[in-house]
């Protein structure tokens, strides 16, 4: 794949420098048949340094997760070599089965089939709390 010439695919742009491998892992890009390019530390007018991920296929993607990891990412959907759609992410209000609650007193610790739900309770300081026990999430930790 020539990195610059995706015909139909997705480009994740403006990833904070250093975050691309985490996103690569989290979106399970390893499992894809198509080619995927991770470009690290390239120059950006807006952010100084950034990472970019190019995926040579239009796949389903959990944008909530992406928004949670890095709300500054831009998702470009490429069709016929052109940007068909540009999505700007934001912090999702709710995360379902993205973060795990680690409170041993929480119902999620004993009931297997209960979804782990976190709600954004403080947008300014990016604080998510478990919907069941209100325990604060650990930003670094993703399921």
């Amino acid at each position: 794949m020539k990195i610059d010439s995706i015909v139909n695919g997705i480009v994740l742009d403006h990833i904070a420098a250093g975050n691309s491998l985490r996103i690569y892992k989290f979106l399970n890009l390893d499992d894809l048949e198509c080619s995927v390019a991770v470009i690290r530390n390239c120059r950006s007018k807006k952010y100084g340094r950034k990472d970019v991920i190019k995926i040579d296929s239009i796949i389903d993607m959990n944008l909530d997760v992406l928004g949670y990891i890095d709300p500054n990412i831009t998702v470009n959907i490429i069709r016929d070599g052109k940007i068909a759609e540009k999505k700007h992410l934001e912090l999702p209000e709710r995360l379902v089965n993205v973060i795990k609650c680690h409170n041993p007193r929480c119902i999620t610790s004993i009931e297997q089939e209960v979804d782990h739900i976190f709600k954004l309770t403080d947008r300014e300081n990016i604080i998510y709390r478990c919907a069941y026990c209100e325990t604060k999430s650990d930003k670094e930790e993703i399921w």
Partner: protein, 306 residues
């Protein structure tokens, strides 16, 4: 509102409505004696709490309804390893409304996602116990005629005492309330309560270890128990425990219209000599708790009584 998980699920006008209904029930019990005829309340207590369970059951019986349920996990299918959500979904096929207590935080919320029957959180671990707070609110309203502009002393275990956190949370939605937080240094109010409730709403509060110093300014004194197991060593417990026991002597400087409250059960933190003081309200809280549960059952079942 379909379920009640937390006191903040209720809007202020819903709280007003519950208070009005409870007061109406107290004024005319006869009018309500058959309004829940044919309806069933299930009390699902995965952890024993006789006091709360009986209050719910008495509430439903006084509304003319019937009750079913279990009082501890051992006597339910949970003992055979059934999940909480499955148990509740099953019971939802028989009952019209469920009051549920569980040692795990958020268990009633998880269960509410699996049933169409209204669920009332009757206590989920150290997390929430909204009907206790409703009992406290009705008591304050009946004693004081208002829920605003009061100096509220909270005393004892302010670190782990969820009833105190919940009461502060509920009263912080009304204007002009301020708090005197009286506790040993080991058991002060947690940072998240200060940050998310008190400081966020710019509410005045004072932290002190001395009960007597602020006694004359209090409109309400909400006592809680200082538990032995909260202390690292026995010596600290022995040294501190008496400072947080309310006696007639300590009440000498208090206002004549102070309301002395306690979520019960008490151990020794309020001397029995205080019980005859007309300012003692803790047994009224028990009675009021039943009336608020009656009002809540009616609200969740959508029953209006003319």
């Amino acid at each position: 509102m379909k379920h009640l998980m937390d006191i903040n699920d209720l809007t202020l006008s819903q709280i007003d409505q519950l208070i009005a209904t409870a007061n109406d029930i107290i004024a005319d019990k006869d009018k309500y004696k058959d309004v829940c005829k044919g309806k069933k309340l299930a009390t699902l207590f995965f952890e024993p709490s006789t006091r709360t369970r009986l209050s719910f059951e008495a509430a439903m019986i006084e509304l003319g309804g019937s009750i079913l349920g279990f009082s501890e996990a051992q006597s339910s299918s949970a003992a055979k390893g059934e999940s909480v959500t499955d148990t509740v979904q099953t019971v939802g096929c028989y009952a019209d409304i469920i009051a549920m207590r569980h040692p795990k935080e958020g268990a009633p919320l998880a269960a509410s996602k699996r049933t169409t029957v209204p669920i009332i959180n009757a206590g989920d671990g150290g997390h929430s116990h909204p009907t206790q707070t409703l009992a406290d609110i009705l008591t304050i309203h009946r004693e004081k005629g208002r829920l605003s502009n009061m100096t509220v002393g909270v005393c004892g275990d302010l670190k782990f005492g969820r009833t105190v956190h919940s009461l502060i949370n509920a009263l912080s939605r009304y204007e002009g309330n301020e708090y005197i937080c009286i506790s040993p240094k080991e058991l002060v109010i947690p940072d998240y309560v200060k940050a998310n409730i008190l400081e966020k709403n710019k509410i005045e509060y004072i932290e002190t270890t001395d009960m007597e110093e602020y006694m004359p300014s209090l409109d309400i004194l909400y006592m809680t128990r200082v538990q032995r197991e909260r202390f690292f060593n026995e010596a600290d417990y022995v040294r501190l425990k008496d400072s947080y026991i309310l006696t007639p002597d300590k009440l000498k400087s208090a206002k004549p219209d102070l309301s002395i409250m306690h979520p019960l059960p008490r151990v020794n933190e309020i001397s029995v000599k205080v019980d005859d003081d007309p300012r003692a309200c803790y047994f009224k809280q028990v009675v009021n708790g039943k009336y608020m549960r009656m009002a809540l059952i009616l609200m969740l079942l959508g029953i209006e009584v003319k």
